[in-house]
């Protein structure tokens, strides 16, 4: 899976993250009186000012606005009017948001306490009955909710009181909190769902800081400020959110999005890495560099063909100059990857170092494996501009050690067909939005995983994946995933290349962005610290 993060990829990765989160174990308890949270600090040098419509641009229109109906094509915009029961922190651990507390009474039972004083945009209460209704609606086949499979372990939800629910599962479901931090966890008004489900696809009723004002498919989305946003009251920042609204233009071409930013027609933009040079000296704009929880890799077919031999996998991995790949294809905006979990993820094993570039070792291993005169392997890469660039660079690096990688550039459907048929030796891989730790390993290495299809069968890894799903103790679970990384790393199960970075540009009149804390707390900081315009004007 090509990890070239743009909004479309955001969607795909978000979905992937949500799906995998369903399968993964999760920490025993997560709780938080709002003001006790480490990120609940609003110590602004300049007082926030109300006013103005914040303008941004996306590549694709949002699609459906019910997060459980397919397709949703812009999850960032979704978060403006729908909020999740849980968010994630700087290490991608779930933290309560619309929940006050989530506690495992036993591995198959969770007690969930909702925040007080939260209302949906239609005035109905966010309470236990509403959450129960929503989850049962998701599971009802008549609802056509594509997220229904993610709630598969759920047996029952009982309303204990106005704000408390007891969830019972048929297995130890440590991933539960992760699921609540993803698509099924977006709180939707039960009253609106009951009244007209079809209408909900275009007229959402969430709890978020903004309400839908106007939607013009393929053109724009206009949101207006929610004057009754619960978080404003709960945090003691009554003026939140500060913008009068948000205007999201749909502009497919990245060069034109940049033109709009430079013309002052939009206030913030996620950049293509190639656009950094054009903006870095622009006095009207500040560009921020952020780690992203995506990984770019190459996958081996370890059950068919030449890469059943670990020496050849090792040879390939050491033939790749990852620093050069980052410098050449990512313009320096990526981090060397040691294994699958990004360096800031709580499941990243800190003892693993990136595989060294050692072409001499590659040649030696090739010779030992009986390929001193060269080796021809087949594969594919996603057919995008970036995909072509990366494939070409990797092909050249492999050629230097005597490996001829016959790589086909394929669109998504053809790529999926080849992946399923195991019709490759070496191919593009990776993962977007690595949040709960089970999704990616299950997807890539477990026999039931969505992107395995039998190409990987590492028994030690499989056992660790299954152990990680059941373990609700945080520290023990972390150790399981560290061990999993080591097992995959030692086996050269895949060639991990880099962890992604994102560049975001903001016009200088957009205030309130604390980059240091954003790096520290990520998701939860972003949504709890809304921005504002200097002087309240765009």
């Amino acid at each position: 899976m090509d990890s070239n993060p743009d909004r479309r990829e955001f969607v795909l990765g978000f979905v992937a993250a949500a799906f995998g989160a369903m399968l993964a174990p999760q920490s025993a308890a997560a709780s938080g009186a709002l003001r006790d949270q480490p990120w609940a600090v609003w110590d602004y040098k300049n007082k926030p000012v109300r006013g103005g419509y914040f303008r941004t641009a996306v590549e694709r229109y949002i699609g459906k606005m019910n997060p459980n109906h397919w397709p949703v094509l812009d999850w960032i915009s979704m978060n403006y009017f729908h909020e999740r029961l849980m968010l994630t922190d700087g290490e991608y651990k779930p933290v309560p948001w619309l929940l006050e507390e989530l506690k495992f009474e036993d591995p198959q039972t969770v007690l969930m306490r909702l925040r007080e004083g939260v209302e949906f945009h239609d005035g109905s209460k966010f309470n236990a009955a509403a959450v129960k209704y929503q989850m049962e609606w998701i599971r009802d086949p008549k609802s056509n909710a594509w997220t229904a499979a993610w709630l598969a372990p759920l047996v029952s939800i009982d309303v204990v009181d106005e704000r408390t629910l007891r969830w019972k599962f048929n297995v130890a479901w440590a991933a539960f909190a992760g699921v609540m931090a993803n698509a099924p966890g977006f709180a939707m008004s039960a009253a609106a769902l009951q009244a007209d489900v079809e209408k909900y696809d275009s007229e959402p009723r969430g709890t978020g800081p903004y309400l839908l004002e106007e939607a013009s498919p393929d053109n724009f989305l206009k949101l207006k400020r929610n004057p009754n946003w619960w978080f404003a009251r709960a945090s003691g920042n009554s003026e939140m959110p500060y913008f009068d609204g948000i205007h999201i233009s749909v502009i497919p071409d990245p060069a034109v999005r940049l033109a709009n930013l430079r013309a002052g027609k939009i206030d913030a933009l996620t950049l293509d890495k190639s656009q950094y040079a054009a903006l870095k000296d622009d006095p009207s704009v500040t560009v921020y560099r952020l780690p992203a929880s995506h990984v770019n890799a190459l996958r081996f077919n370890t059950t068919k063909g030449v890469f059943q031999d670990v020496r050849l996998r090792t040879a390939v991995s050491h033939a790749l100059d990852r620093k050069a790949l980052i410098a050449g294809t990512q313009l320096g905006f990526a981090r060397l990857a040691s294994c699958m979990f990004p360096g800031d993820h709580w499941c990243h094993n800190p003892e693993l170092a990136p595989v060294a570039y050692d072409p001499a070792l590659s040649k030696k291993l090739l010779a030992e494996a009986g390929h001193a005169n060269g080796l021809t392997v087949r594969g594919y890469y996603i057919n995008t501009t970036m995909g072509q660039t990366i494939a070409e660079a990797v092909k050249n690096m492999l050629a230097k050690v005597g490996i001829d990688w016959q790589v086909d550039l394929l669109p998504a459907t053809a790529l999926a067909t080849r992946m399923q048929a195991l019709d490759y030796d070496l191919a593009s891989s990776g993962w977007l939005f690595i949040h709960d730790p089970d999704l990616m390993p299950t997807g890539l290495y477990h026999p039931n995983g969505g992107f395995n299809f039998g190409r990987s069968k590492n028994d030690a890894a499989i056992a660790l994946i299954e152990a990680g799903r059941r373990e609700i103790d945080f520290d023990k679970r972390q150790k399981i995933y560290w061990q999993l990384e080591k097992v995959l790393y030692d086996a050269y199960e895949d060639a991990w290349l880099w962890w992604e970075e994102t560049l975001v540009a903001y016009r200088k009149n957009v205030m309130g962005r604390d980059h240091e804390n954003l790096l520290k707390y990520k998701d939860v900081w972003f949504w709890s610290h809304p921005l504002w315009f200097k002087d309240g004007k765009a």
Partner: protein
Amino acid sequence: MAMGSYICVRLLHALVILALVTMLVFVIAQLIPGDAVMAAMASSVDMNDPAVVARVRHQFGLDQSILVQFSNWLTRYLTGDWGTSIGTGQKVHAMFIQRLPVTLELFLGATAWSVMIGIPAGIISALKRNSVVDVAVSTGTMIGVSIPSFWEAIMLIYLFGVVFPILPPSGYVPFAEDPLLNLKSMVLPTFVLGTHFAGLLARYVRSSLLEVLSQDYIRTARAKGLSERAIIVLHALKPAMIPVVTVIGLAWAHMLAGAFIVEVIFAIPGLGRMSVDAIFQKDFPVVQATLIAVSVNVLVVNLLVDIVYGYLDPRVRVNQ
């Protein structure tokens, strides 16, 4: 044959062609590996989870046989239900109705530009044949035809949207909502789309006018002492426009292809962009609806061209 009968016969032919095109498109679309569900879910959802994939495929009727799918689709299409877009989840008919006026406005504006630029340029070029003016105009039209529209679009966006910000760089505002902003936002896209055809048009006008001006009756008109202006306006221009009308008609029919590039670059929510997105996503309901619309467009435009043709040149009344 009377004009009325002729139109009826042409319409009948058109319906037969439409039916054949529809069936062909449907069959070819089914033969292409994969579908929109696979394309969209290949990177995002567990392909090994039959429940998820089956649910979505069933939702869009992709689990039926080709014959059943075609028959269901045709029945619904004729009753106004054009299906649901797999790529966006919207009703295809609603998508069409939303986007048709946008693309029509783009086409009309582009046609206006191409006529405003192309016809005068062609006339001037013909009248000043082999002069510096002729060379300049011919070069200009050649450049207009040759410049890639995506490059032209981006250059104009930067020039008039960023450097000299007098026009919006992108986006669309409906005319009913804000007429002035609508017109401003459509100046650049219609210009880009129009300049390509303007170049083509100019060359046709030039060669057509030159041919007409070489006719005997023009020589007779000159011999009779008519002014050059009178000769051009009263005697030469109308017959010279016959092939030009055909070109305009054909250009209109094929503008959809060029419209895609313009609509993407300028972020205009029109049919062109919708169509190509649907093709890349294997969004069959949208592809089929679009192809029928394109076929109807071509057939109707050709019919209109023939009618106008008959008006311009009475010798060309249909006679079958």
